[in-house]
Amino acid sequence: MTAAIPQPSRTYDLSFARWVRENVKGGDKMNLCMQCGVCAGSCPIGDEMDNGPRKTFMMVRAGMKEEVLSSSTLWNCTSCYRCYVRCPRGIPVTSIIQGLAAVAAKEGYAPKQKVENYYFSKAFWWSAEKFGKTDERLVTMKYFFSFGLSEGIKRALDNLKIALGMVKAGRMHIGLPHTIKNKSQLKAIVAKAKELEQKG
C-alpha cells in the first residue's frame, strides 16, 4: 500500500510579496535578500524600529501585510542610505522602506497609530503643494498642532528659544510665505501626477 501523498497546507500568502515586487520601487530586487543583516546592523536608528529592514523583508515574503504596514520601521527611517550602499546583494533597501511607507500612508495604516512622520510629511507636503516651497516655520507649526491644541502649544513653547535664535540670525522667515510665481502651473502638474498615480 502506498501512503497518500501529503498535501502541505499553504501557510504563506504570496500575493503581498508579489504586489510589493511589482509596485514598490526596488521591490523587484527584494528576492535577492540573503538575510545577512548588514542593513539592520548598519542602521543608526535601529533602536527605534520594531523590526528593522532585514526582518521587514522576511515578513513581506511571508505575506505579513498588516504587520509590515503598521510597523514602526517604516516611520523611523532617516533615509541615511547606509544600508543601501552596504547591502552585499545590491538591494536598494532605503527605497523599499520608503515605498512601503508611502503605501502604508495611502492605505490608512499611519494615522491610526498617530505616527509623527506621517503628520510631519503631510504638513510638509501641504506647504510644497500650496506655495511650491517649504515654509519651515509654517510646516513646523502645522505639524505641532496636528497633535491637538494643547500639545501644539506645548511643543511650540518648547521650541520658542530655538525659534527666536533663528529669527535673530535671519534664518527664520517672518511674514508671508515664500512662494513660486507660477502656482497654478505647479498645481496642474501635481494634480495630473496624482491622477496618474491612482491609475497606476
Binding site: P44, I45, T78, Y84, K133, K168, I189, A193
Partner: protein, 303 residues
C-alpha cells in the same frame, strides 16, 4: 580670471530660511573659482526625504521634473545644488526620467498638464561638493585661499546624503567613497586649516526624524559632538544644511538631557572658503547667521 563655466543652480527651500548662510556663501565663493551661478527660474520644492509619504512617489517625481524642465531653459549642460536632499531628489529623479520609460512618460504628461515642454533627462545634476572636486579642483581652491586659516582645527562631517547613495556622478565614476570620503578634509586643508581625525564623519544626525521627534536622535548628535571635542576641533564643517541646523540647534537640548556642556560652532565648507579667500565675513561668509558663533574663524576674517 579665465573664462567662467556656467552652471545652473538649484538653491532649494532651505536657502531662504535655515540655510541662508549656505546659499550666501555658495553664491560668494563659486564665482571666485570660475563657476558662474545661474538660478533655475521659478524653482520649487523637491519634496525632501518625506515627499513620497506626504504626496506620493509620482507627485514627488513631478515636482522635480518641473525644476529640471525649467533648468533646461538656462541652456547649460550642468545643474548643481548645495543641499543634500535637493541633490538626492533632483539627481534621482533625473536618472528615473532618463532610464525609466514609463515614469518619463508619466512625468511628461504631468508637465504637459502645466503647459510645459517635455523633459528627457539629458541634463547633468551635481552636488556642489562634486563640482568643487571634479570641475574646480583642490589646487585652485588652495591657490585662491590667500588668507590661510592657520591654526584652525576642523572636524569634517560629511553626513549621509551628500555621498549616499549617489557618490557616482553623471560623468561616470564616483567623486568620492561612501565610507571614507576625503573631499571635505581636502577643502579644509586647501583653506590652510587643520583637518582633525573625525571617526563619525559619515554618521547620520537623524535628518527629518530629528526635526519631528528630536528625542529619538539626540544620542546620535551627542556622539558627533563628543568626537569633535575629543579631536580638539574648533569647528565642525558640514556640507549639508539640515545637518548644520540640527547639530547647531539641538546642542542646548543635548546639554540639558546629558548634563554636557557643548557649544561647538557648525559651519559650511563654503563659509570656510569665503574667509580663506579674504572675503567679507558677513556678506560673503554669512558668519553672523550661525547661532553658535564661530569666534575663532571670525577673528581670522579680513575685515
Amino acid at each position: 580670471m579665465s573664462e567662467k563655466m556656467k552652471f545652473t543652480y538649484y538653491p532649494g527651500c532651505s536657502s531662504e530660511a535655515t540655510g541662508r548662510h549656505l546659499d550666501e556663501s555658495t553664491r560668494a565663493v563659486f564665482p571666485e573659482l570660475g563657476i558662474e551661478v545661474q538660478d533655475i527660474e521659478d524653482w520649487n520644492c523637491c519634496g525632501a526625504s518625506i515627499g513620497h509619504i506626504g504626496g506620493g512617489p509620482l507627485p514627488q517625481l513631478a515636482l522635480n521634473a518641473r525644476n529640471l524642465a525649467n533648468a533646461k531653459k538656462n541652456g547649460n549642460e550642468h545643474v548643481f545644488t548645495s543641499c543634500a536632499a535637493c541633490y538626492l531628489n533632483t539627481h534621482g529623479s533625473n536618472l528615473t526620467i532618463r532610464e525609466d520609460e514609463k515614469k518619463r512618460e508619466q512625468a511628461n504628461e504631468a508637465l504637459k498638464a502645466g503647459g510645459m515642454d517635455a523633459y528627457e533627462g539629458d541634463l547633468k545634476v551635481h552636488h556642489a561638493m562634486e563640482v568643487l572636486v571634479n570641475f574646480v579642483g583642490m589646487d585652485k581652491i588652495a591657490e585662491r585661499a590667500t588668507n590661510k586659516l592657520e591654526g584652525l582645527k576642523v572636524a569634517g562631517w560629511v553626513g549621509c546624503q551628500t555621498v549616499r547613495p549617489f557618490a557616482e556622478t553623471d560623468d561616470g565614476g564616483n567623486y568620492d567613497t561612501y565610507e571614507e570620503p576625503h573631499f571635505l578634509d581636502d577643502i579644509t586643508k586647501a583653506c590652510g586649516a587643520e583637518a582633525v581625525d573625525y571617526e563619525p564623519k559619515t554618521n547620520c544626525c537623524g535628518g527629518s526624524v530629528a526635526v519631528m521627534k528630536p528625542e529619538k536622535t539626540l544620542h546620535l548628535m551627542k556622539l558627533l559632538l563628543e568626537e569633535a571635542e575629543k579631536a580638539g576641533a574648533d569647528v565642525i564643517s558640514t556640507p549639508c544644511p539640515l545637518c548644520q541646523t540640527n547639530l547647531e540647534m539641538y546642542q542646548e537640548a543635548i546639554n540639558k538631557k546629558y548634563g554636557t556642556n557643548f557649544n561647538i560652532p557648525v559651519v559650511f565648507p563654503q563659509q570656510l572658503m569665503a574667509v580663506a579667500f579674504g572675503m567679507d565675513p558677513q556678506k560673503d561668509a554669512a558668519l553672523h547667521r550661525n547661532t553658535i558663533r564661530a569666534e575663532k574663524l571670525e577673528k581670522m576674517a579680513k575685515k
